[in-house]
């Protein structure tokens, strides 16, 4: 029941927040709740066995038996860290948004916690429909977060965000339904249970495009590509980020984008192995192009936040490259890069948010000489910058190194193209850094009406865990990689006949679940 607890605890907290008698209690309560759910999620370490690729702590109840839809949760090396990342970022975000959210803080935190449930759910759901439900549900709170607490063009941004994602995911819904019926025709019973669907061999014909597996592959891929977002369906992201309030951006970049890449790893590649194999080059190409394109465009952004947003496009390009390299290095690196991006880009958004609260401007040109005015802030920003441009001994390096190695191994041309991103990454980040922090004090900095005060205690406390993670993950990645290894090896070893089993022993739930699934099958 641990997973259900982790998933639905935030929802419960959201309800509690909704009925808190005093608005002023909301923030402290929310922070406490966030810490609690993080603590609860830490229990995963106790139950989780990193040695096996099997699904663990699984929970199974039939939901809509008629259609073979079930409530099946489970966690393995692929989703393990993503869950923890999600739960880890929440307290950071709550604390980070202490002053950023000035109106309707109660509603905001309710949305935030509801969003938490949706995201966690989509990371542990092993039933396609259940996953889809969480996947879509996560849109709604984010829709409100951007739309209510966002900037000037928030409505445009949030609508764009919602519609873009909806297009992809609705098409994916068709794909899901098709899969369920294929299951009915081949397995003899209708099911949306991924572990069962892995067994399907969806007919695939190399050469021609119009065959079920390729179509399904692309339908699913589109949905996730939009979510990631991959070039060329990325344009919703900059708008969403620029308009979103700081915490919104942090969650969006930190966790929501990962739902896309996670979808590739969990569903697209294992469900449609031949197509994935056959069309991998497309995604390697798009990934590499995304890396370079995102970096180039980020370089010329006048707005800090937009720059960071485009850097996300570039970074997620790395992830896609790694995933479709489909070798241990690439996939491990991709998973690692998801975490890195969650940490470092989240931190970047928080930092940009801090300065925005002070000057109410993100225009790079109007800054300059910030290093003298806010030294501590500068140091924090610099550290995060290092992690973002993947300087060794920060977390970024490990991920990028592995991804590029894997990518190069998979396809020399695109791998080399991606390596260009290493240079460009340094260019856009350092250029921005130079223009904002170095040189003479810019108009915003030397404005004597509101002198800039350096980061306060709260802001510092927000940043500390992130900075610690940046170096920890950079200096000793092994403890982190340990948890993903088994799953990744399993994934790479039999990527053309991927199967997942539910860990029977030692967890009692495992046995029960397997039994429950078995007699479900009997019933059909």
């Amino acid at each position: 029941m641990l997973l259900s607890l982790i998933v639905f605890l935030p929802l419960l907290f959201a309800l509690v927040l909704a009925i808190l008698p005093k608005e002023s209690w909301v923030r402290p309560a929310a922070f406490g709740f966030a810490l609690i759910q993080f603590a609860v999620s830490l229990l995963l370490f106790k139950g989780f066995d990193p040695a096996t690729p099997a699904v663990q702590m699984a929970e199974f109840f039939p939901w809509v038996p008629a259609l073979g839809i079930s409530y099946l949760l489970g966690i393995d090396g692929i989703s393990f860290w993503l869950v923890l990342l999600t739960t880890f970022l929440l307290p950071v975000v709550v604390l980070g948004s202490w002053t950023a959210i000035d109106k309707k803080s109660r509603a905001f935190h309710c949305a935030l916690f509801a969003l938490q449930t949706a995201m966690l759910g989509s990371f542990v759901a092993l039933d396609l429909v259940l996953f889809y439900v969480f996947f879509e549900l996560s849109l709604v709170p984010m829709y409100f977060i951007i739309g209510i607490w966002g900037g000037q063009r928030r409505v445009y941004a949030t609508m764009k965000f919602f519609l873009y994602t909806m297009v992809g995911s609705l098409l994916m819904l068709l794909g899901i339904i098709y899969l369920m019926f294929t299951a009915r025709d081949t397995l003899g019973y209708m099911t949306a249970n991924v572990l069962e669907l892995y067994k399907l061999k969806v007919p695939f014909v190399a050469g021609e495009f119009l065959n079920p597996q390729s179509l399904l592959f692309f339908v699913f891929s589109l949905a996730f590509a939009i979510k990631v977002p991959m070039f060329p369906v990325h344009t919703w992201l900059p708008d969403a980020h620029v308009e979103a309030p700081t915490p919104g951006s942090v969650v969006l970049a930190g966790v929501m984008l990962k739902m896309g890449t996670y979808g590739f790893l969990r569903f697209v590649i294992p469900l449609f192995p031949e197509a994935a194999e056959h069309y991998a080059w497309v995604f390697l190409f798009l990934g590499a192009v995304g890396i370079v394109y995102g970096a180039l465009v980020a370089m010329v952004q006048p707005d800090m936040k937009k720059l960071v947003a485009y850097s996300s496009v570039s970074h997620m390009g790395y992830v896609v490259l790694g995933l479709f390299a489909m070798n241990s290095y690439g996939v491990t690196g991709a998973i690692y890069q998801m975490l890195n991006h969650g940490v470092s880009t989240g931190a970047l958004f928080l930092l940009v948010g801090m300065i925005y609260e002070r000057t109410h401007s993100r225009e790079i040109e109007r800054y300059g000489g910030l290093a003298k005015a806010m030294p501590i802030y500068t140091i924090l920003f610099f550290i995060v910058t290092l992690s973002s441009i993947a300087v060794p001994m920060t977390n970024g390096f490990v991920g990028e190194f592995l991804i590029l190695l894997g990518g190069f191994q998979a396809n020399k041309a695109f791998g080399s193209l991606a390596v260009v991103g290493v240079v460009l990454g340094a260019v856009y980040m350092l250029w921005m850094f130079k223009r904002v922090f170095f040189g003479e004090a810019g108009p915003l900095v030397k404005d004597e009406h509101h002198p800039l005060h350096d980061v306060g205690i709260r802001e510092f406390v927000v940043m500390v865990p992130l900075v610690i993670l940046i170096f920890w993950m950079g200096l000793m990645p092994e403890p982190f990689l340990k948890y993903t290894k088994a799953s990744v090896e399993h994934f790479v070893a039999n990527k053309d006949a991927y199967q997942l089993t539910i860990l029977e022993s030692p967890t009692e739930t495992g046995k029960l679940t397997a039994a429950a699934m078995a007699d479900q099958k009997e019933k059909k």
Binding site: A66, L67, V133, I148, M159, L170, I177, F181
Partner: protein
Amino acid sequence: MIALKDILVVAPMLVLLVASLIPVMIKVFNSNREPAPFVTIAYSILGLVAAGFLTASMSGAKQTAFSDALVLDGMGVWGTYLILGSAAFAMMMAYDHVDTFKRLFSEKCFLMMGSVIGMLILLLSNDLIVTFLGIETMSLCIYILIAMSREEILSKEAAFKYFVLGSFASAIFLYGIAMIYGTVGSTQIPAITAKVGELLTNKNHLFYFGIGMLILGFAFKVSIFPFHFWTPDVYQGSPTPITAFMATAVKAATFIAMLRVFQSAGYQAEPKLMSALSWLAVMTMTVGNTAAILQKNFKRVLAYSSVAHSGYIMIGLIAAAFGDNYDSAAIIVLFYLFSYTVMTLGSFALIGILEKKVGVGLNVDDLKGLAKKHPVLAAALAVILFSLAGVPPTLGFFGKFSLFGVAIEQDLYWLAFWGVLNSVVSVYYYLRPVVVIYMTDSEETSDELVATGGLAKATLVFTAALTVIIGLVSSPLLEMVRAAVLSRH
């Protein structure tokens, strides 16, 4: 001659008749003094509930009455529940709606009950003559209900438009019946569905005329393109409770009647018929959704959305008629009808609550500041709108899910594809009210945001709750529907 079982089958209608007559009678014998509205609605709802229980008592094995003129099977039972329910809620909306003459309330209820009776006849009809009777009874009552509005210009115009077009369409419908009768030699639906295949295979032109006109006559009532033009105008002009009643009960009854007519494997003999209907479905969805985007008047938005929904439901019908698995398709259609009914009732309830100047209805932009003034209503509306947009885990999502499901099951990929594209489009206008409610800075709240009507509010909140709850546990409902449909055999 008339056996007890015949009476039993029509007992619900008789009960309704009596229940609807009581208030009017009171009025008559009370020197034409209107009974307290509470009494009226109490009697009416009592009648509806009683009818419901009677139907429930008879559900189970399918039975026919009046020498197979009427048939009561699971589908009919289920449809009866739908209609009675929506009628009840429509009355609750009308109870304290601004547009209701308190001194004519008993008549209003009487007419509503009357049209409910018509719908039940339509629902149970096993013979095209009876079908026609049902349609007419239903429609005539509604014409008057529309015209009974306190508002003078628009409602009268709406009533008249609806009346003229309605009778025009029913004439066509009737002509179709005539042709079918001429070719089949009977108006019994089973007899017809039995011979559809052969008549279509040897290209009997008269029959083509007949079946075509029959379908299109139905299509008018459920506002399928190009017979939907009356819908926005009439929906806007009618008193909101009546609009809700039309949008839900009429559609449910008609669609189920269509299901009966379509209940034959013979249609597969004519693929052109299927492609024609598919085109109509696609056009209906597209026109409904795209036109809805450009509307300012919330009622018109919902009117167009209901047109679009008819398009979606057509997918289910096509699957039922031309697929190889009538039952599953029928189940889905009923399920979708249910979800559609719930959501539509809720959304119209909100309009009923907020609109002050009768007939004009309210524009989407008038909702500005609702979140501040009536957070609960705003939230309920938001839930219903998200459900209409098909966002999980709501009733609307599962409706769409199962509908596309049945489409894919029958390999109607293009229909499913169009359905998906259209739902994307629909997201835009379903979320616009949400934007207005929550995302526009409401310094200047439009001050006519006065909510009236306890029962209507109850309706809104109840439907909203229903969308979420059944969205979360849709399984029992699905099982019920399945049982209902399968009891046919």
